[in-house]
């Protein structure tokens, strides 16, 4: 097994609304391996987008993470403070949204939107100081985060005794916080001295070179232009030592735009979003995400607003980038065709829970949960004209999550126990798990519905045909 990049344990998220708590995510568990693509599928309202938003820390203001953890590089993203998240969001974890038009600013040139992040994060001088004092900073902010988290808990709880306990805890943390702050400030100061020295040395070195060149300029008049250019380059490089300059940002932006397949990037750099087509806009969004060089990429229905040919191009692009940069991808969609194309592993979500998770082949060829069956059966089939198996009814109202299996009310294979007790995750194979009582040893052996079996068989034949054609 490869290294785990991200581990989500028992994640539970609700939203405060006028009508009460909407339980959007109810205990989601999964691990994300380095370099893999995990697809999350499900109907709208199943909690797939909310899970993704929790990972990147952009949940709406009325969201509460009730419990659970999102472990990433030793940090729990569910408890990290907003200030700390700035260091992770975008830089380590990037996200592409569904609608490329509304994720771009319509009155800002494309180039500026791509370079904005680079320039904002590109103060090498500050970054170096931060790096040197990183350990002290982490310790300080950890305590700060803890306090913030406790304060949030106080705000959300109505129990007075609990409130008091939290307040006492905060009080206990205060002296520790003070000490850590002093330590942090000290570390910063000493770091600044070191960085300043480095900067001065570099500046003196370059200035020396420049004055030499200037002297040369006075004596010889032959290649004046060349020397002047050299001086300019030296000055530019000196600036680059301190921060990302506009010129550098431009060069890097053009490179990334080329990488994502935008023709004529030097010209396109100065255009506005409305001058791009839907597919091109999505490419720009991807370019913006890539400039920060993230290692996890979350794609929230990136192709739903695009048509087939453009969709194919964008999917190919994401696959290519994934290979080149060894990205780990979380891909959210409800299009099972796209899932088959992209995913290494698939998680099927229903009513805030993962009901089935497994490798792509497991879920497509040996689905176990009745919800996965209907989901697969309801996609129009290119090989037959039989009536589609539509799912009767609507998803449950998550204000009042149903008891037992949430899918029971719409499930024609539902048993009595489905309405009483929630099924645990049953193990189908090493890589394949499903939460349905049908997998219990005492349950009737129903097996995959025949229509679905036929369909898998037909698809296999089609695959053979296509393979022999090529």
């Amino acid at each position: 097994m490869r290294k785990l990049k991200l581990t989500i344990k028992d994640l539970t998220i609700s939203f405060r609304t006028i009508n009460g708590l909407v339980r959007a995510v109810r205990g989601v568990n999964f691990g994300l391996e380095e370099g893999e693509t995990l697809a999350i599928v499900g109907e709208s309202g199943s909690g797939k987008s909310v899970t993704a938003k929790a990972i990147i820390g952009i949940l709406a203001g009325n969201a509460i993470i009730d419990q659970g953890s999102i472990m990433y590089e030793g940090e729990d993203l569910a408890k990290v403070s907003e200030r700390q998240f700035h260091k992770i969001r975008g830089k380590k974890i990037g996200m592409i949204f569904q609608d490329p038009l509304s994720s771009l600013n319509p009155i800002m040139k494309i180039g500026k939107q791509i370079t904005e992040g680079m320039i904002l994060n590109g103060n090498h001088y500050q970054n170096k100081i931060d790096d040197l004092a990183a350990r002290e900073k982490a310790a300080y902010y950890n305590v700060l985060g803890k306090i913030e988290y406790l304060k949030k808990l106080i705000k959300n709880t109505k129990d007075d005794s609990k409130k008091k306990a939290y307040q006492a805890e905060i009080k206990e943390l205060k002296p520790e916080k003070r000490g850590l702050k002093q330590k942090y400030n000290k570390a910063r100061k000493s770091a600044k001295v070191i960085v300043d020295q480095e900067w001065k040395a570099e500046k003196d070195r370059v200035n020396g070179l420049i004055s030499q060149l200037k002297a040369k300029l006075k004596i010889s008049s032959e290649d004046k232009e060349k020397i002047k250019k050299e001086i300019e380059d030296l000055r530019e490089n000196l600036q680059r030592f301190k921060r990302v300059t506009k010129k550098e940002a431009f060069e890097r932006a053009v490179k990334v735009m080329e990488e994502v397949g935008i023709p004529d990037p030097e010209k396109r750099f100065y255009q506005y979003p409305f001058q791009f087509s839907g597919g091109m806009r999505q490419r720009i969004v991807i370019a913006i995400v890539l400039t920060a060089n993230p290692d996890i990429l979350i794609c929230d229905e990136p192709t739903t607003a695009l048509d087939v040919t453009i969709q194919a191009q964008i999917l190919e692009l994401i696959n290519e980038l994934k290979r080149e940069r060894n990205l780990t991808v979380i891909f959210i969609t409800h299009d099972l065709g796209v899932v088959a194309n992209m995913a290494d592993r698939i998680a099927v979500m229903y009513a805030g829970k993962i009901v089935e998770i497994g490798r792509s082949e497991d879920v497509f060829y040996n689905p176990q949960h009745p919800y996965t069956w209907v989901l697969l059966g309801s996609t129009p089939d290119i090989t037959s004209k039989k009536k589609l198996t539509a799912i009767p009814g609507t998803p449950p109202d998550m204000l009042y999550p149903p008891e037992g299996d949430a899918f029971a009310a719409r499930n024609k294979y539902a048993m009595k126990i489905d309405f009483v007790e929630e099924p645990p995750m049953f193990k189908v194979s090493e890589t394949h798990y499903a939460a349905t009582w049908l997998l219990h040893k005492d349950a009737p052996k129903i097996g995959i519905p025949n229509e679905l079996k036929d369909r898998i068989e037909r698809m296999k034949n089609l695959t053979k045909e296509v393979a022999s054609d090529v």
Partner: protein, 315 residues
């Protein structure tokens, strides 16, 4: 297979102009399309966004005034001149976005009954009865009549849109991407509903879509459009088995299917419009085998024919 022609479209043109004088700019959204739609069939119109498929639908139902060409509906010309309201009642449209196409301030009953009222029905009891019947038909309940659109889910809203279209008993429906804004499971519900209605009332449907797997499932004949022109027209099976025009091939090769092994072997073909050499002869829509039309000139025709005979792919 089908006998009677319901809709006859000849050389339909829809050009949009913007600016005037030197800056005048003409967009030829639809530039001369011909096709017939027969009684009782589902006619699919596919192509990428911006190829003019929606414009074609809207020009036929006269939401736009066509720039040129003829449209005959049930034997009478409808593309130019004053509209025959009695005749146009027989042609209805279902729109893509079920949220934007229903007036949020009207109750479901008002929305659905509007067509009846416009066509002159005044008896309130009859209207109510009609609305209730049609609601049951599309799988909603009569109680829903007094509610507002925001109280419904996406799939239910699309059912309201369908109810509004079928209450005036049309013989022809233009469905403009009726399912692309819906969830997978709900897509199946709406497709099944359209299928039932078609069987029950013998409604002819023109189905505009960009999702080819839905088109393959639902339509009898399919036309492929590319930049305002029709490039290929054939029966469903024929088109998916023997696609001839390179654009059709590229479109078909881009469809992802829910099967990981198939996806691994699928190779996408890209379409380059420069493969055609139209310097000597302009292409026209020609019939290659019975019912299979393709946009080509004579030189390409022989090439396509050969490939059909040999069963070998040209590209």
């Amino acid at each position: 297979m089908f006998s009677e022609v319901v809709l006859k479209v000849r050389d339909l043109k829809m050009h949009f102009t913007s600016g005037r004088g030197k800056r005048k700019h003409v967009v030829k959204a639809v530039d001369g399309v011909d096709f017939d739609i027969y009684q009782g069939e589902v006619f699919g119109l596919v192509g990428e966004s911006g190829c003019g498929k929606t414009t074609t639908g809207r020009a036929i139902i006269r939401l736009y005034q066509p720039t040129g060409g003829n449209v005959e509906f049930l034997g009478k010309p409808i593309a130019q001149g004053k509209l025959d309201m009695e005749l146009m009642k027989k042609m209805q449209m279902i729109f893509q976005d079920p949220i934007a196409s229903l007036n949020p301030r009207m109750t479901v009953k008002e929305i659905i009954a509007q067509g009846l009222r416009i066509s002159g029905l005044k008896d309130e009891r009859e209207i109510t009865e009609n609305v209730h019947n049609v609601l049951r038909k599309v799988g909603l309940l009569p109680e829903h009549a007094s509610r507002y659109p925001h109280e419904f889910s996406g799939g239910q809203r699309q059912r309201i849109g369908i109810a509004r279209a079928i209450i005036v008993k049309p013989s022809f429906i233009i469905a403009d991407e009726p399912i692309s804004a819906l969830d997978v499971s709900i897509q199946a519900q709406v497709i099944n509903l359209l299928n039932d209605l078609r069987e029950e009332f013998g409604i002819t449907i023109m189905f505009i879509a960009h999702d080819l797997s839905v088109v393959k499932y639902f339509c009898d004949r399919v036309a492929v459009m590319y930049y305002g022109k029709m490039v290929e027209l054939a029966t469903n099976d024929e088109l998916f088995k023997n696609p001839l025009h390179p654009y059709t091939r590229s479109l078909l090769s881009a469809v992802p299917l829910p099967d990981p092994n198939y996806e691994k072997t699928r190779k996408r073909i890209t379409y380059n419009p420069n493969v055609h050499n139209y310097n000597q002869q302009k292409p026209t829509l020609q019939e290659i085998t019975e019912g299979h039309f393709v946009l080509a000139n004579d030189e390409e025709m022989t090439k396509y024919k050969r490939s059909l005979d040999d069963g070998i792919k040209v590209f």
